[in-house]
Amino acid sequence: MSQANQIKGKIMEELKYIGKSFPRIDGKEKVTGAAQYVDDLEYGPNLLHTEIVESTEPFAKIIKIDTSRAEKVPGVVTVITGKDFPYKFGLYMKDRYIMAQDVVRFVGEQVAAVIARDPKTARRAAKLVKVKYEPLTPVFDQMEAIKKNPILIHPDLGEYTHVPWFYPKAKTNIAHWKKVRLGDMEKGFAEADVILEDTYHVPRYAHCCMESHIAVGKLDQADRLTVWSSSQSPHTQRHLFAEALAPLGFTHKDIRVITPFIGGGFGGKAGVTMEILAAAFATKVKGNPVKVRWTRAQEFYNTYMRQAVLSKLKMGAKKDGTITAFEISNYWDAGPYVEYGANVVNASGLSAAGPYRIPNVKIDSLCIYTNLPAAGPYRGFGYSEMMFGVESHMERMAQKLGMDPVEFRKKNAFKGGDLLVYGAPMNANGFDECIDRVAEAIEYGKKAVSEDPNKVIGKGIAGAWKGPAMPPNASSSAFLKFSEDGSINILVSGIDMGQGYLTVMAQIAAEILTVPVEKIRTENPDTDRNAYEWQTVASHVTWSCGNAVKRAALDAREQIFETVHAAYLYDKSTLYLEDECVKCTIDPEFSLPLKDFVIDGIMVKDGTFRGGPILGKGMFMPEFSSTKSDPETSQGGKPNVHYTVGAGGLIIEIDKETGKVKVLKVAEAFDVGKAINPDLVNGQILGGFMQGLATALYEDMRFGENGEILNPNFTDYKIPTALDIPDEIIPIIVEVPQNDGPYGARGIGEHTMIPVMPAIANAVEDALGIRIKSMPITAEKIAMAIKAGVKEVD
C-alpha cells in the first residue's frame, strides 16, 4: 500500500463517531419543554374537538343510532356514525371498519362521534346520542372460541383480504394459523430420555406510553388532507389512509402525514388505529382541523393492547442435554380485530421454539378472535409473550436432566450458519457469550442466603431472541443535505420514540462525512418532504435506516469528491475527508473546508463555478428476504432478516410471608452487532428491563363480565415508579457484527424486555421451589401459593 493509501486507510479504520456515547441531539429540546408533540402544535382558532360514543356491548347488532338530540346542541358541528364511512382498513388483513357498521365487537368500540367547537360541548352532546343494540353472545376466551360450532365473530372471514402469508380459516374464529413442521416428531420423542409437557399462560398487557394516542386531521379547501399523528408509522399511515379513503377520491398525493416528537410507542403506535378517525372526520368538516385525543382509559382499550397467549409445550431431550423434539401450540387471544395482531402471531410462530437447534419441531400458532378489546403489536412482538413458556420450560428440562441450565441452553443454541426451523441459516451471534456473562454477573449457581429469616433469595436466568417482523420488502430511505456552514439536515422518516434514533443517524452520517454530530440535525417525519420509511417497528431502523443514511452519506461524499475533482482535477481516488475538509493523499497541503463549497460550489479560474448544493440520497431494502414458503410446513423462504440474541439474569429476594419480591441485581447482555452509541444501548437495556419486570410482577389487567377492562388507569394498572427499580442493573453489550448492518449493528429496542418474565419465574422457583406458570407473579400469587403449600401454580 502506498503511504498515501495508508493514511487514508488508517482514517477509515479508526471510528471517530461510531461506538461513542454522544449526547442525544434532541436533548436540549426535551429538557426545556421545546420539544413539541402533536398536542403541543397550534392548529388555530377553528380547531374542532371530538368525543367518541363507544359501544357498551361486547358483541351486538346495532339496531339504531339516534343522533338527533346531539346534533341540536349549540356548538356541535356534526355527528358522525359508522355509516358515514363504510370503509375497511388494515395493514396485514382488512378486518375492521373505520367505525362500527352493523355490529360492535368489544366494549369501547367507536360507534359514533360528536364533533364540536369545544371539548365540553362535545362531551355533553355525546351523552345525548342513543344507540340501540341487539346483544349477541360474546366469547372472551380464546380456547372457548375455537371449540366446535363456535359463535362466529367474523362470519365473513373467508372473504377478507390479507397478505399472502396469512392463512385464515373461514367459518371459524381462527384469523391466522401459522404452522411450522420440521423433521419427524414421533421419532424425536422416541429418542428422548425425558419428556416434559406443560401449559403456560401470559395475559394481556397495555403499552402505557406516557403520551396517549392523538391525531389531528385537516382537509383544506383545496382538498389536501393533512394528518398530524403520534405514530411510529407515518408513511404506512399515509398509505392506509389513501387505501381506506380511496372511495372518497383520495390518492397518496392528496395526503400528508406529519409526526413530530412522540411520547413513547412500544409498538402501540405502529400501523394505524385511532388515527384513521382524524383522517376520516376531517373530510366531513372541510377547512377545520379536527382533533381526536384518546383519554388514558381509551388508550387502554381502544388502540391495541398486547395479546394474551396460552402455550402448550412438549419437549423431549436426551440425557446428554440434546433436545430431540419440541412441540408447541400457541393460542393467541387477539380480540375482534387482528389486522396487525395476526402478524405478531405469524412472526412469533416462526420462532416459537426459541434460539435452539432442534431437529424435530412442530409449531402451531393460532390467532383467535375474541370479544375482548383489540390486541396487537407490543415491544417484543410476540416473543415477550411466548418466550415465557419456552424459557420456563428450558429451565425445567435442565433440572430434569440434572444439567446446569446455562450449559443446557448453550449446548442447544443456534450457532451462525445453523439452519433455522424453516430452513434459512442463522446469523453469526454471541448467544453463548451473552448467557455466560450474565451468569457470571449474578454468580449464577452460587446459593445466596438472606440475612432476614423471613426472606429467601433466588437466582434466575433466561435466554432471548427476536428477529424483526416485517414484510420482505420493508425499506428505508434517506436524504441528506448541507447548509452553507457545512452543517447537515438528514431527512428520514423513522421515529425517535425515545430510543435515540435521531442521534444514531447523525453519528452514522458524521462518521462518513467527518462533520461533528452537533452540526447535524435529523428531522422528524413529514411524508411530503422526508424520504420514505416503512415503519419504526421490529427494532430494525438502526439497521435498515442506518444503512440508508450511510448510503446517503456516501452518495454525498461522492458528490463532494466529484466537485473537488471538477474544480481541482485531483483524481477522486486520492481524495478523502477529514475534520470537515476535503484532503488529498498526494497533496498534503490541500485542505478545502466543506463549508466553502457544499452549497455554493467551487469557483474556477474563469470565474465560473463547479458543483452546487450537495444532496445525498440512500435507500435500503433487504433484497434477500422472502416470505414464500410452504403453508403447511413454513419450509423455504427467508422471512427474518436476522435475529438479535441475548440473555437476562437476576437475583431476587422474596418475603415468604408477604410474597413480595425485591430485585437485588440484574444483568442483561445482548449481542447488538455493534453499539453505535453504547449509552443509548444501555438505556434500552434499563428501560426494557423495567418494562419487562413490570409485566412480570405488577401489571395485572382485569376484565369485567362484559369483557370491559376494569382498571384502565394508573391507579389500578400499576406501572413501576422510581421506588420499584432493582438495586443494581448491569447492562452488558456483546458485539458479533451483523455483516449487512451499518458498521455491523443490529437492533436492540424490543429485546431487552423478553428475558425478564421467565427469568423471574425461574428465580422464584429457585428461591421457593414453586413453579409459577402464569403471569403476572404478584406478591399475592406467591404468598397464597406458599400458604397453600403447592409446588406448581397454573
Binding site: 449526547p23 442525544r24 434532541d26 436533548g27 436540549k28 429540546e29 426535551k30 429538557v31 426545556t32 419543554g33 420539544a35 413539541q36 408533540y37 398536542d39 403541543d40 397550534e42 365540553k120 403499552h207 402505557c208 406510553c209 406516557m210 403520551e211 396517549s212 416528537f261 412522540i262 411520547g263 413513547g264 410507542g265 412500544f266 385525543r293 383519554t295 388514558r296 420514540m497 425515545g498 430510543q499 435515540g500 449509552d679 443509548l680 438505556g683 434499563l686 428501560g687 426494557g688 428491563f689 423495567m690 418494562q691 388507569n713 394508573f714 391507579t715 406501572i719 413501576p720 415508579t721 422510581a722 421506588l723 427499580i725 442493573i729
Partner: protein, 154 residues
C-alpha cells in the same frame, strides 16, 4: 360564568378568562401556550402535568384554573433566564429521558427536591420523583442526574 384571573407564569403577570370548570392544565396549554406540562392521565396518577405552584410541585390536572388566581407558577420554560439549569444539563449528560414526555414534570419534581434538600440520598431522590411515571428510562438515569447535580453543589 366566566371569570378573569391573573397570575404570574414564568415571571410574567398574565391574565386570562376562564370558566369555573376549566382545568388549569388545559388553560396553560390551550390559552397561554405553555405546553411543557403534558396531558398524561388527567387524574393525578402520572405527574406529566407537574408545575411549580408557589415553589411547590403540584399536578395541574387536579387544579381548577380559578384556583391559580393570584398565585405564582413556574414550568420548565421558565426555570432559568439564561441557558439550562445544572439539572437540565445533567439530564442531557445522563440520558435521563427517552421519549421526553415525562421530562418536564420530572425536572420540576427534582428541582423542588434540590431546592429543599440540595444533597439528597438516593432514597430521597426516588421518593421525590416517585409520583412521576416514566415508561422509557427505568428511572436509574434520572436518579443519576439528580445525584450528579447534588454532588457538584456545595
Amino acid at each position: 360564568m366566566k371569570k378573569m384571573i391573573t397570575f404570574t407564569i414564568n415571571g410574567e403577570l398574565r391574565s386570562v378568562e376562564v370558566e369555573p370548570n376549566d382545568i388549569l392544565l388545559h388553560i396553560l396549554r390551550d390559552k397561554l401556550g405553555v405546553t411543557s406540562p403534558k396531558i398524561g392521565c388527567e387524574r393525578g396518577d402520572c405527574g406529566t402535568c407537574t408545575i411549580l405552584l408557589n415553589g411547590k410541585s403540584v399536578r395541574s390536572c387536579l387544579m381548577l384554573a380559578v384556583e391559580a388566581d393570584g398565585q405564582e407558577i413556574i414550568t420548565v420554560e421558565g426555570l432559568s433566564d439564561d441557558g439550562l439549569t445544572p439539572l437540565q444539563d445533567a439530564f442531557i449528560k445522563h440520558n435521563s429521558f427517552q421519549c421526553g414526555f415525562c421530562a418536564p414534570g420530572m425536572i420540576l419534581a427534582a428541582t423542588e427536591l434540590l431546592e429543599k434538600n440540595p444533597h439528597p440520598t438516593k432514597g430521597e431522590v426516588k421518593e421525590a420523583i416517585a409520583g412521576n411515571l416514566c415508561r422509557c428510562t427505568g428511572y436509574e438515569p434520572i436518579i443519576e442526574a439528580v445525584l450528579d447535580v447534588s454532588s457538584q453543589s456545595n
